[in-house]
């Protein structure tokens, strides 16, 4: 229960920071996706029973704060999570570099899945160009945030034993 409350506090803090504070200082393209970083972190370093619903929940939470399509990010987060989880056993999940690379790949994959879903299910023809324009800075900022997260000493607490 205490762990759940702690996790909830972290998520609320992340969401508030990302939604209310960061947009004040950063251009939209340079806003990091902290929820995605958190999802990748959980995918690599937490138990499936916790991280699977958490990944979907984080996606849903992002949908509640972004765009108009509820379930879009929830789906893409889930797909990215499942792929990461399936390969995480063969990876050195303790590596900081791997974490940064995984977050970058997850950013690109999540954007691609979102785009695919939007093209298939909704009328957003101009989104493609905007998404491509902003993907690279978004990816770089996410990688930067991932490197910061990896550098925090307390972040090793969820690491699995080798």
């Amino acid at each position: 229960m205490r762990a759940f409350l702690k996790a909830l506090c972290i998520v609320v803090a992340v969401v508030a920071f990302q939604s209310a504070v960061l947009p004040h200082y950063l251009e939209p393209a340079f806003k990091p996706d902290l929820l995605l970083v958190l999802m990748v972190f959980l995918a690599l370093r937490a138990e499936t029973s916790v991280s699977l619903p958490a990944a979907y929940g984080l996606g849903l939470l992002k949908d509640c704060l972004s765009g108009i399509y509820l379930g879009l990010n929830a789906f893409s987060f889930l797909v990215v999570y499942l792929v990461l989880k399936s390969v995480s056993e063969r990876l050195n999940v303790q590596s900081c570099l791997l974490f940064v690379l995984t977050v970058s790949a997850a950013t690109a994959a999540s954007a691609a899945i979102n785009l695919l879903l939007l093209l298939v299910f909704s009328q957003t023809p101009t989104l493609f160009a905007a998404l491509l324009n902003q993907l690279l800075p978004h990816l770089l900022v996410n990688a930067f945030v991932a490197s910061l997260v990896a550098a925090v000493p307390g972040c090793g607490s969820l690491r699995t034993s080798p």
């Binding site: 939604s19 972004s66 765009g67 101009t126 902003q134």
Partner: protein, 274 residues
Amino acid sequence: MFDLLRKYLLSLLVTIGLLVALIIYSLNLPDAREANWVERAVGSILSPVLGPVKWLGTLPDRIWHDYLNLVQVRRENMKLREDIKTLNQSLVAAGELLQEHERLKRLLEMRKTVHEPTVAAAVIGEDVAPWFRTLTIDQGSSSGISDGMPVLAAGGVVGQTIKVTPNSSRVLLLTDHASGIAGIIQRSRARGVVKGKGEAVCSLEFTMREEDVTVGDLVVTSGVGGVFAKGLPIGTVTMVKKGQYGIFQSVAIKPAVSTAHLEEVLVVLRAPRE
């Protein structure tokens, strides 16, 4: 005779001296404002000496006050620093209040032009993804807001409400890809649909090639669709492109309201037509 002179010599000299002094004084009266040769000579001799002497004379005092007795100065310095900090904070707060006052004043002016009930709301959050354009405001269904209500700012149209909760709502900005508002060129009455392009720019779509649209034209709401009242400013035409083929022209619009740093908005309590 000599005895008499010797007896009164002193008195005589004093009297002569007094007389001479009186004569000198009386002779100098007409030119009292000008320095005579005596004064000039004294001034010339003393002026190079006075400065260093004064410097030397006040040296102990200065050593005491400037180097030895600094406790008071340090205390005063700290107090002044605190005062500057307080004054700076007051200055910033006053500037902030002034800006808020200006923004609210403009918002009130906009409110006067809307002939329907409105609710003022503060922006409390922005979209967390870089490719969508929505805002979160601090008023919801408990204030009478429902989905699809027009949202305005001082300059014109901001967007419309979506996903309304009891205490907050989200605003789909007119720059979002999913946004579409029926617009009209104010000058030529050419019609179209203002679509968001994700960045700080929109496009006027479905405007026929032969319609008269030029750069600088003001685009306002047409009232078609029932969400927005007629005549609300949407933006200004920044680019018009007519290709060789096709029945429509490409028109780019710069929104009248910069949505980048919006802080207060007005929600018009106007239920959209079903």
